[in-house]
């Protein structure tokens, strides 16, 4: 991981785009871990199914990650020590390079072997000679490089010893340094941008990086960060903060969302804004905590007792994580409702080198509807207005005291068991969200309008669908719809589906939750196929080319 991160950042400083998903298991520290890194000159594309170059320090550990990091016959392999005889067929271009030995001779310990490998890769890819220096941001990575300068040079000197030519990279589009971040960081940065200054969370893989980054950013009196005693507490604290007008957030994954469910229902009923991020992982129960899945969709849309509307958004790229984090606050604050932002382990933990413009451009920011002077006389917290959104006083506002409750209540917030009032309040909470269905920009449609064949996918799976369609050269035959607003169901998605003769729904959920959600809401073409499987392994282009080719046929 150190090697991959350094290489990605060095290349990014020269203008290269790329993505680097992480692969790791259930270890506490050490154990099997690896990364796959794409370097691209124009955009942050997904790494290919099989790698061009692989560096392996330990074949036993590789065996644990083999399903996710397959070798191709064309792959070039550098390894520290040879695999146990008969355990693995190495491709033709495989070279033993004694990374550990070299480092040990230089520094007395093999710890810096990844820096030797970095030196070698820099030479092989013909990255500029002084690259490592120019990339030096003042952080741990640069310290690591400085401290191991000898190891880096030893690595660079290795190339001539190998019977092997440089694999010169094409120059990047321009030499603008790319910014490197993962989806979890993008979510946190988006939240800060949206004005979130109260954040509460409980550690859980693979969402903890959001909490860590929020802790860092809300430190030093910049806001309120609190590590809660559990997820119920995390969302309870956030709801409490929101009562006073604070834009509040919590972040978790499947098991945490389970625990938060009752409070999401309360926030929906008492109309209290709160943003909940779910970085999905394999479930149910503990599942596979370090791997991606898209199986919390049902829970996000329907989770909880009673009819408790909420809004579900889903990001499919790292930039989307940032933008939708802001959008989650906009929707939550404006409509006074809980918003669940779905991402997944793949999005959350894959570091992406990309243009930084999305971090600095303008985003519109929505506010809560607030009571004006005319409300001072007889303030009704849940007043039935034309748009069903009632002005919300903040606890602390003078002259506007009200008492909220999870009991069925009337416009004033008084407990009410009047059945007609109960019906009206349901109508209010559901109908206020209806305008969201017209938020066309929250549904991406790619491809030719006239195509009658289409694919629907959300989250990180959408990236694999888009690139596979492109790889197969089917952009003219097949259009792709990627909804970022999942619930309430956007009209643009409905009209996309309505324009099709043939539909393919791709998702990483054994029970095909997206497919069934769509079926429950709209008519699907009679020729509709569902490609759905359990998570764990990411989709590959090879895997998806089957169903996509079938769709285009």
């Amino acid at each position: 991981m150190v090697l991959g991160s350094l290489l990605q950042r060095l290349a990014a400083s020269q203008g290269y785009f790329g993505q680097m998903p992480r692969y790791y298991g259930p270890q506490i520290r050490g154990g099997a871990s690896g990364v796959k890194l794409s370097l691209d000159t124009t955009r942050a594309s997904l790494p290919t199914d099989t790698v061009d170059i692989m560096v392996c320090f330990n074949w036993e550990k590789y065996a644990e990650l083999k399903q996710e990091l397959p070798l191709g016959i064309e792959s070039i392999v550098f390894y520290d020590s040879p695999p146990t005889e008969g355990s693995l067929d190495l491709p033709g271009k495989s070279f033993q390079v004694s990374f550990s030995q070299i480092t040990k001779e230089l520094e007395g310990t093999p710890a810096a072997k990844n820096i030797v490998a970095l030196g070698l890769l820099e030479r092989i890819l013909a990255l500029p000679e002084n690259l490592s220096k120019s990339a030096a941001a003042h952080d741990q990575a640069s310290v690591l490089l400085e401290r191991n300068g000898a190891a880096l040079h030893a690595g660079k000197r290795l190339l001539p010893e190998l019977s092997f030519d440089e694999l010169r990279l094409s120059p990047p589009k321009d030499a603008t340094a790319r910014t490197v971040l993962h989806g979890n960081s993008a979510v946190a940065q988006g939240a800060i941008r949206a004005g979130c200054r109260t954040f509460f969370s409980y550690p859980i893989t693979p969402a903890s990086e959001i909490m860590e980054e929020m802790q860092e950013r809300l430190n030093h009196g910049n806001g309120v960060f609190l590590q809660a005693e559990d997820e119920i507490a995390a969302i309870g604290l956030a709801v409490g903060a929101s009562l006073t007008g604070a834009r509040s957030m919590t972040a978790t994954t499947g098991p945490g969302i389970d625990l938060m469910t009752e409070m999401i229902g309360l926030a929906s009923s008492a109309e209290i804004p709160v943003v909940v991020v779910d970085v999905q992982r394999c479930g149910p129960a503990t599942g596979i905590p370090s791997k991606s899945e898209q199986s919390d969709l049902n829970h996000a849309i329907y989770g909880g007792h009673g009819d408790a509307p909420r809004v579900v958004l889903a990001a499919y790229s790292v930039k989307g994580c940032y933008r939708l984090s802001i959008e989650s606050f906009n929707v939550s604050e404006y409509y006074q409702t809980p918003v669940i932002l779905l991402t997944d382990q793949r999005l959350g933990q894959t570091t992406v080198a990309t243009n930084s413009d999305f971090l600095t451009k303008d985003y519109s920011m929505a506010q809560r509807k607030r009571p004006g002077g005319e409300h001072q006389e007889q303030y009704r917290r849940y007043e039935l207005t034309e748009d069903y959104i009632s002005p919300m006083a903040f606890a602390g506002d003078k002259g506007l005291t009200y008492q909220a409750t999870g009991l069925a209540h009337n416009e004033k917030g008084r407990p009410s068991f009047d059945f007609a009032t109960h019906q009206h309040m349901h109508e209010k909470r559901w109908q206020k969200l209806a305008p969201l269905r017209d938020r066309d920009e929250l549904v991406k449609v790619l491809g030719r309008e006239e195509s009658r064949r289409g694919i629907l996918a959300f989250g990180s799976s959408a990236q694999f669908v888009l690139e596979t369609v492109e790889d197969l050269g089917l952009q003219d035959e097949v259009k792709v719809c990627v909804p970022e607003l999942i619930h309430p169901l956007p009209r643009r998605l409905a009209s996309f589906v309505g324009s099709l003769e043939k539909l393919l729904v791709v998702e990483m959920s054994y029970s095909a939750q997206l497919y069934h959600y769509l079926r429950s809401q709209i008519d699907l073409p009679s020729d509709t196929a569902s490609y759905a499987r359990a998570g764990g392994a990411a989709f590959s282009r090879e895997e998806l080319s089957g169903p996509i080719t079938e769709l285009a046929r």
Binding site: T198, F200, V224, L226, A228, E229, D230, I232, A233, G236, L237, A238, V239, G240, A241, S242, L243, T244, G245, A246, S248, E262, M263, L266, A270, A393, F394, A395, G396, D397, K398, G399, L400, T401, Y402, Q403, A404, T405, G406, L407, R414, P415
Partner: protein, 274 residues
């Protein structure tokens, strides 16, 4: 006492006549809040679910009748986001000490300036009479204690007061619903204390408790006065010591006295402020 009605809404409480909830409501709205001069908009009352948790609807400050067991979370979140607010969490014994018990040591640990008032009526009353964690321990076979129980509760009682002492809550007091003016004073002291305050209010449930329960408590109750000898159970051979609310060891001894033997009314412990 002036302007007392300013703190009441027009809503009529759902409680049974004679319920201890009225004593708390009066202590808060007629005495504690006016005496402290807290403007209505600067107070937030958060409750959970249960008989006593209906209270926010009756108090004209900001209020939130939230989820069973979770009031202390919402109270802390609000206090963190708006430190100007006076935040009070109110709930019953089931609320704070059964479903929500896991949150209390953490609230104590954070020591935020939040006042927590537990209306302890020794029973689940809203659900019609089931055992609560504070229902007094009885030997099986002594006859039904609660209306819906075939057998009396056989689990040892969880003692909320000794629990809060052992986790070192920074302010611990015990009041009694039959003495609302003393209760109001305790609440004022708790609110003034800068840190997490816990007030246990001994309350009869006129509907589901057997009458002897609260009668016993009332008879045996003794008031704690700073520097004066503490009351001890009849069974105790110990020499009464002078009450010192800053002494955690003595506070623990007070707290560990069974409430059926010697309920101590007053400030049990007053520790560090945050």
């Amino acid at each position: 006492m002036s302007g007392a009605s300013n703190y009441r809404t027009e809503v009529t409480p759902v409680w049974c006549p004679g319920c201890g909830g009225f004593a708390l409501l009066n202590a808060l709205t007629r005495t504690a809040l006016p005496n402290l001069g807290i403007p209505r908009h600067q107070a937030l009352i958060v409750s959970g679910i249960g008989c006593s948790s209906r209270i926010p609807a009756y108090i004209d400050t900001y209020g939130f009748n939230s989820l069973h067991g979770r009031s202390v979370l919402i109270a802390q979140g609000a206090k963190l986001a708006n430190p100007e607010l006076t935040v009070v969490a109110i709930g019953g014994d089931g609320d704070f000490f059964s479903i929500g018990a896991g949150h209390l040591p953490h609230a104590v640990r954070r020591n935020l300036n939040v006042t927590c008032i537990m209306v302890n009526n020794f029973v689940y009353a809203l659900t019609k009479g089931q055992t609560s964690p504070t229902t007094p321990y009885l030997q099986r076979g002594e006859g039904p204690f609660l209306s819906f129980q075939f057998y009396p509760p056989v689990d040892p009682v969880l003692d909320m007061v000794s629990y809060s002492v052992s986790t070192r809550a920074s302010f611990i007091a015990q009041g009694i619903a039959t003495d609302p003016s003393h209760l109001a004073w305790l609440i004022e002291e708790a609110i003034k204390h800068k840190g997490f305050s816990f007030v246990n209010v001994l309350t009869p449930c006129v509907t589901f408790d057997p009458p002897w329960l609260f009668k016993t408590i009332k008879e045996k109750a003794s008031y704690l006065k700073e520097g004066e000898p503490v009351g001890l159970p009849d069974s105790s051979g110990e020499q009464p010591w002078l009450h010192d609310s800053s002494n955690i060891t003595l506070a623990l001894k007070l707290a560990q006295t069974s409430v059926m033997e010697k309920p101590h009314i007053g400030i049990i412990f007053r520790g560090r402020e945050s």
